[in-house]
Symmetry: C2
Subunit: 243 residues, 2 copies
């Protein structure tokens, strides 16, 4: 598609480039009470005052060395700890998404074990909202519902062929616990022996020798994730009818 000369000139003549506002937002997932949950905060200020939104805010050029640093800073500010998993999701930028004008937000998504967080303090303004389908049961500010949907799709998709689900559990976990995480997020039951074969063959878990977890039946072997840096991939997607 060729640009007309008029179109070209309209764009070209703007020599003074105004900058968009730039923010970083976070989609922080955890699994708790057998539900995938996302952290939401109630906005204190306009626009969208008192509506639920993804946590985030403006980049601070003085203290943030990089966009990722900014995301990590905001994560610490919101929930007080470093997330075991932080990945850039996507950047959303347009004139429309914020009534204040042109903004861009780079969204990160984080995974954490539910035992590593306690948010009892301020239930009114910060909440772990259960994810149903690809969203939550609340209206969200800005385009955050759309962003959250993208994040949920990405999480499910990555679950199919990577090991990121281990980051939703504490360091020591059992295979049935890990399988349950998959089942909760993918919303379908998985076969026990296939799941174990898959996970064991991928070779990224190691037994914690002698340690077991008690329950009402036979105690389960505890494992830990072996190599946090190595990115292991499954050769096939984990759910039988993926897409």
């Amino acid at each position: 598609m060729e640009l007309t000369e008029a179109e070209f000139l309209r764009c070209y003549n703007v020599s003074l480039y105004e900058k968009p506002s730039f923010t970083v937002d976070l989609v922080i997932f955890t699994v708790r009470d057998e539900q995938l949950r996302v952290l939401l905060v109630k906005r204190a200020e306009h626009p969208f005052k008192d509506q639920w939104a993804l946590p985030g805010g403006f980049l601070d050029l003085q203290c943030d060395d990089s966009v990722e640093n900014c995301a990590m800073r905001k994560l610490v500010e919101k929930i007080g700890i470093r997330a075991p998993y932080l990945e850039q999701l996507k950047t959303y930028g347009s004139r429309e998404r914020d009534p204040r004008g042109w903004t861009a937000t780079t969204v990160y998504f984080a995974l954490m074990a539910s035992n590593s967080i306690s948010l009892e303090k301020d239930q009114e303004r910060v909440r772990w909202a259960p994810v149903q389908g690809e969203g939550v049961d609340k209206a969200l500010a800005f385009d955050h519902a759309h962003i959250l949907a993208d994040a949920v799709v990405r999480l499910r998709s990555k679950l199919e062929y990577t090991h990121i689900a281990v980051h939703l559990l504490p360091e020591a976990f059992t295979l049935p616990e890990l399988q349950q995480i998959y089942e909760i997020i993918l919303q379908q039951p998985l076969d026990k022996s296939s799941f174990r074969r898959r996970v064991v063959q991928a070779g990224m878990l190691e037994e914690i020798a002698g340690k077991l977890r008690d329950g009402s039946g036979r105690p389960a072997q505890l494992y830990r994730f072996r190599d946090y840096d190595r990115k292991t991939f499954f050769p096939r997607s984990i759910s039988r009818y993926a897409r």
Copy 2:
């Protein structure tokens, strides 16, 4: 007294927060002369004057409605046509990546058929550089070598489980041509019958009835990509020893 949202917006000063410079860059891939190639431009201005760089530039708040629109505009400016495939890669932002100070760039990657482009006009300043390994045989400006490496990794990875390779070919193509695209990018030979089985079973190609492509041997059946919108996934990765 509380402000209403309308009052808040009236008083809101957009320039309160210092903002980073915001650019959009493009990694435009094609396959030509049996090589994966990326479009590079020689920088006309400082910094990194006369070094090769990914095409891109500043967002124009007046004419770009969104980041993606900006990417499409720049694509049209650089090569004069709409790309059949455009996907956001990642956003890179830090104080270090540009000597002028804090900048962020949102990078898109595009795929196109090599027949749809002709860049004979300005070989000195615009070039389709062959990709070797995860980069090119030239020093690149800014952090563009790093960005390019990420883009190549993403391209290879997506080739394993999606159909995006069809966008590197013209609308009508043969299965051997498609297989060759995979082999060039993945840098390994693929089995003919397995490849055909896979691609046909995925069901996203349709024969162009009666149409054949001539060559030195038996003419090959021409196909077209059936559903440009539907995202089809392979259940397994296409290369045997993926990762």
